[in-house]
């Protein structure tokens, strides 16, 4: 048992030093990436507004960064509204070869006792943000790794969701 632990520790330290060693060899200026995320309009017009988001490249894919920004970052202006329940995290994200984004959220995203407006705007923001990228055709929402039928008792999100252009501000 102890031996395994030691071995693991060794491998771990190797990985860490290996990484930093590699980085030192090729110093890169921080690369900026930018993308569009969709947020609910704060004026109550039941529309999604595009918000431009710029950040340092962290090696993750654009769709994943967009989802992380939508869920984790505060809106940059008061004209946007954050409709994702507080405490929600993205647990994992991947895109199947068929173009279905698997967006896996923590259980905080499940919240009853709200009107359907929030559910519509929230799923709309997630799906429209992700389908902005050509590699994503549709979005499967998962909670703690599993398909869920409804997030708030109104919408049926068991099957993959398609982009809803009618929610976008024209």
């Amino acid at each position: 048992m102890k031996k395994i632990l030691l071995l693991m520790l060794l491998v771990f330290s190797l990985v860490i030093t290996g990484c930093s060693f590699f980085e030192k060899e090729k110093p890169q200026p921080p690369k900026k990436i930018s993308f569009t995320i969709y947020r609910a309009a704060a004026d109550g017009s039941e529309k999604l507004l595009a918000e431009k988001f710029t950040m340092t490249d962290n090696g993750k894919s654009l769709p994943e960064n967009a989802l992380l920004a939508l869920v984790g970052a505060k809106p940059q202006s008061t004209k946007y509204e954050d409709v994702i329940p507080a405490g929600t995290r993205v647990l994992s994200f991947s895109i199947t070869p068929e173009g279905t984004a698997l967006a896996n959220f923590s259980k905080e995203i499940v919240k009853s006792g709200q009107g359907s407006y929030n559910e519509v705007m929230m799923t709309g923001a997630i799906v429209n943000t992700l389908t902005e990228f050509p590699e994503v055709r549709q979005v499967q929402i998962l909670v703690e790794g599993k398909k869920i039928i409804t997030l708030g008792g109104h919408l049926d999100v068991e099957d993959p969701l398609k982009r809803d252009e009618s929610l976008l501000q024209k």
């Binding site: 109550g44 509204e81 709200q114 009107g115 929030n118 039928i149 109104h154």
Partner: protein
């Protein structure tokens, strides 16, 4: 090894029992409903014993549960019986002190508990209702459809709410039944109307009648219409309950008479739906509007079923969100309905949002048609832009076989609209407009 196992087991048991005993008060809310009843709700992590003490002008609720730090809020509300409450810890107990403007009689307050409901994620609750200042509806007619419509002062249901609720989920602040007894278009009791006329434009039909002659003529016409409506409603009721075993599919044309319509008042029972700042519960408003809608449709000759007619869960207490949604569809399927209409009130964290939205799921070409027909009628008559016709995959309208629509009738989170929807004027008017929209659809 075995000893160790036993020890761990014992520790586990100990820990478990300790947790089970430590119920905590997580929140204390209070508010006044539209009938001026004052309600306190104590949220608990687990059921806990409690007692209510009345000592002259001080009402104290002693809860055998610890007060969580963040729950300790003293707040004010607009009630003429009590203007403030104090929540304070007392050792392992929590005291809720409510100074009263006058002493209470035993039948002027009641308390009951609500169980924890994992399905809707609602905590265990203690509810205390003070009905001392509760208004009783002036002259509401018994809700049975058999009462002749013309005699609006027939039976007065002025029973004060003194009965003690027996721990069931039926919550006492359901609006007193003041269901509409006059056909659409005829001004209902002016007292309730004037109280809540908002800044939106009134539809035709409420036009002023000037001369005495016209008045008489209108009265005659009204009576004639009422009679016709009654006849139709009677006929429709006679056909109710007879499910045609040979019926396949649904009907979409040929007039509304004889069509089978299932109305689904959103939420109910332990699930209040969205809650407004003034304590308005979505489930109560959806039921009131649905009842009025049912009556209107029956007068047009439709056969109408409701997923619920009282304040209950359709799938029974403790059912999951999904079972509850499915139970509503099952009602429509059971009676081979031609149309399914789900009535909801919207809510948003954004308090500015307001208005009507009508949703459909395009599983047949008729889903959009019925949604448009209702939405057009609503927006035209409420003088709003037609922005609210939307496609969305709501469970209840997606998974049923017949054409369906889900109506979100204004926002409970919007101060103005919350006030509006509590009133008879709004509830009656929306029900009338929805019924007209459905009538148009079947033309």
């Amino acid at each position: 090894m075995r000893k160790l196992f036993l020890l761990v087991l014992m520790l586990c048991c100990l820990a478990f029992s300790a947790v089970a005993n430590a119920a905590q008060v997580t929140d204390v809310k209070w508010g006044v409903d539209k009938d001026n009843m004052l309600r306190f709700v104590v949220d608990l992590t687990d059921a806990a014993p409690y007692k209510v003490e009345v000592n002259d002008k001080m009402l104290t609720v002693v809860v055998d549960a610890e007060l969580q730090d963040k729950a300790g809020k003293n707040s004010k509300t607009r009630s003429n019986i009590a203007s403030m409450m104090k929540v304070e810890p007392d050792g392992n107990k929590t005291l809720i002190k409510i100074p009263l403007s006058r002493a209470l009689k035993a039948d002027e307050y009641k308390s009951f508990t609500l169980r924890k409901d994992p399905a809707t994620k609602r905590p265990a609750r203690i509810v205390l209702d003070i009905t001392a200042e509760k208004r009783v509806a002036p002259a509401s007619v018994a809700s049975k459809g058999s009462t002749p419509a013309g005699k609006s002062n027939a039976t007065v249901s002025s029973k004060p709410a003194t009965s003690v609720a027996s721990g069931s989920a039926v919550v006492g602040n359901k609006p007193v039944n003041n269901s509409l007894k006059k056909p659409p278009g005829v001004g209902s009791s002016p007292a309730t109307v004037s109280a809540s006329v908002p800044s939106v434009s009134l539809s035709a039909g409420g036009g002023t009648i000037e001369s005495e002659k016209d008045k008489k003529k209108a009265e005659k016409e009204r009576k004639k219409k009422e009679k016709e409506a009654q006849k139709k409603a009677k006929k429709a009721k006679k056909n109710k309950g007879k499910v045609d075993a040979n019926k396949v599919g649904y009907l979409t044309s040929g007039g509304i008479e004889g069509k089978i319509i299932t109305i689904d008042p959103g939420h109910g029972g332990s699930d209040p739906g969205a809650v407004g700042d003034r304590g308005t519960l979505e489930k109560n408003i959806t039921l009131e509007i649905s009842k009025r809608l049912k009556k209107n449709l029956e007068e047009m000759g439709a056969i109408v079923y409701m997923t619920r007619e009282t304040d209950v869960e359709v799938a029974g207490p403790g059912a999951s969100d999904v079972d509850e949604l499915q139970a509503r569809i099952n009602v429509a399927e059971k009676y081979k309905s031609d149309l399914f209409v789900s009535v909801h009130i919207n809510s948003s964290v954004n308090k500015k949002v307001g208005g009507f939205s009508t949703y459909y799921y395009p599983k047949t070409k008729f889903d959009a048609k019925i949604a448009k027909s209702i939405q057009d009628n609503l927006t035209k008559n409420f003088g709003r832009d037609n922005l609210g016709l939307r496609e969305a995959n709501f469970y209840v309208i997606k998974r049923c076989t017949m054409p369906a629509t889900l109506l979100e009738l204004c926002f409970i989170s919007n101060k103005k609209e919350e006030k509006l929807m509590r009133g008879n004027w709004f509830q009656t008017k929306t029900a009338n407009l929805i019924a007209e929209g459905i009538e148009d659809y079947f033309k």
